[in-house]
Symmetry: C2
Subunit: 149 residues, 2 copies
DNA sequence: TGATTTTAGTTCGATTTCGCACTATTTAGT
DNA sequence: ACTAAATAGTGCGAAATCGAACTAAAATCA
């Protein structure tokens, strides 16, 4: 493989990694003490996608190991942002449900990020960012399918 | 702020975060035991940008805390991939220099990723990815400047 | 139907990440 | 020139992340 090709893809992932680092730091600076981006992301996911998901589907959605998700969920439990119930479809499994505190937390977190989103939008208008989304989603989906089982 | 706007930017960062997670896992699966993406990234940076940088500039480049970079560098030292020398311009500081082993490691790591890059390129041709780079670099640069000191 | 294989979530321990605090050095202000 | 403030890198401890191993339940196979 030629070095120019490698450079393009390595640069892409390098930028992605740094933006991920920066956005995580920015988001976490706005969250209440003890709550991190993974906490927010799970709550947001339960609202946007579907409440009552299993730990495994959540771990898969975020591409983290099961144990990482177990840890994240236990943090959410401690803060009373979710509750866990048995999974009626699978005796080994549980389902994760939002509490009112969870919904309130998410609304506050999003609102607290408004200044950051405002600043970002001033420099990168919504349409510009939005036009990247399909390709990013495709890349993410491709890599998700590509990874080892 | 309207929810549609929020959704665009939150979705963008969500995709970024997951792609970062996936690419990190893929890369680390190819690296020798004990070496992680941050190790590779520092070596790659020293080659692509400039050898002999200070821990602080490296931490800034990757948007990680100084202590994280200290830890990463100590791993590189242990593996003999870099060496540290005093910084002639600043008595508090050091400079990080590649060893031959470091250069060899980087070349091997890049080559070992070729199958992954091949697969990715088949689905997302180089030009398509390359056209995203300027905007990603701008977003990264903007967020870098925007963050608290 | 029973045996075998696979799997969901957790425990455990190791590693990585990160904030706080520190020392020695540098920079900025008077 | 001297003092005060800021800073580079590190030690320390806590939290987050992650792989290995495990148990109980589900899925698959004969």
């Amino acid at each position: 493989m030629d070095n120019d090709t490698r450079h393009v893809y390595f640069t892409f992932f390098n930028e992605i990694g740094i933006i991920a680092q920066l956005s995580r730091a920015a988001m976490e600076a706005r969250l209440p003490k003890g709550l991190t981006l993974p906490h927010f992301s799970v709550i947001n996911h339960l609202i946007r996608v579907r409440d009552g998901q299993t730990p495994l589907t959540l771990a898969r959605a975020f591409q983290v190991p099961k144990t990482t998700m177990t840890h994240t969920l236990s943090g959410l439990l401690e803060h009373g942002l979710v509750e866990m119930r048995p999974n009626p479809k699978d005796g080994r499994s549980k389902t994760v449900w939002l509490t009112d505190a969870g919904r309130t937390f998410r609304a506050a977190a999003i609102q607290s990020s408004d200044p950051d989103i405002d600043a970002l939008q001033a420099a990168f208008p919504k349409q510009k960012v939005e036009q990247m989304l399909p390709l990013l989603a495709e890349i993410r989906s491709f890599m998700d399918a590509y990874r080892d089982p």
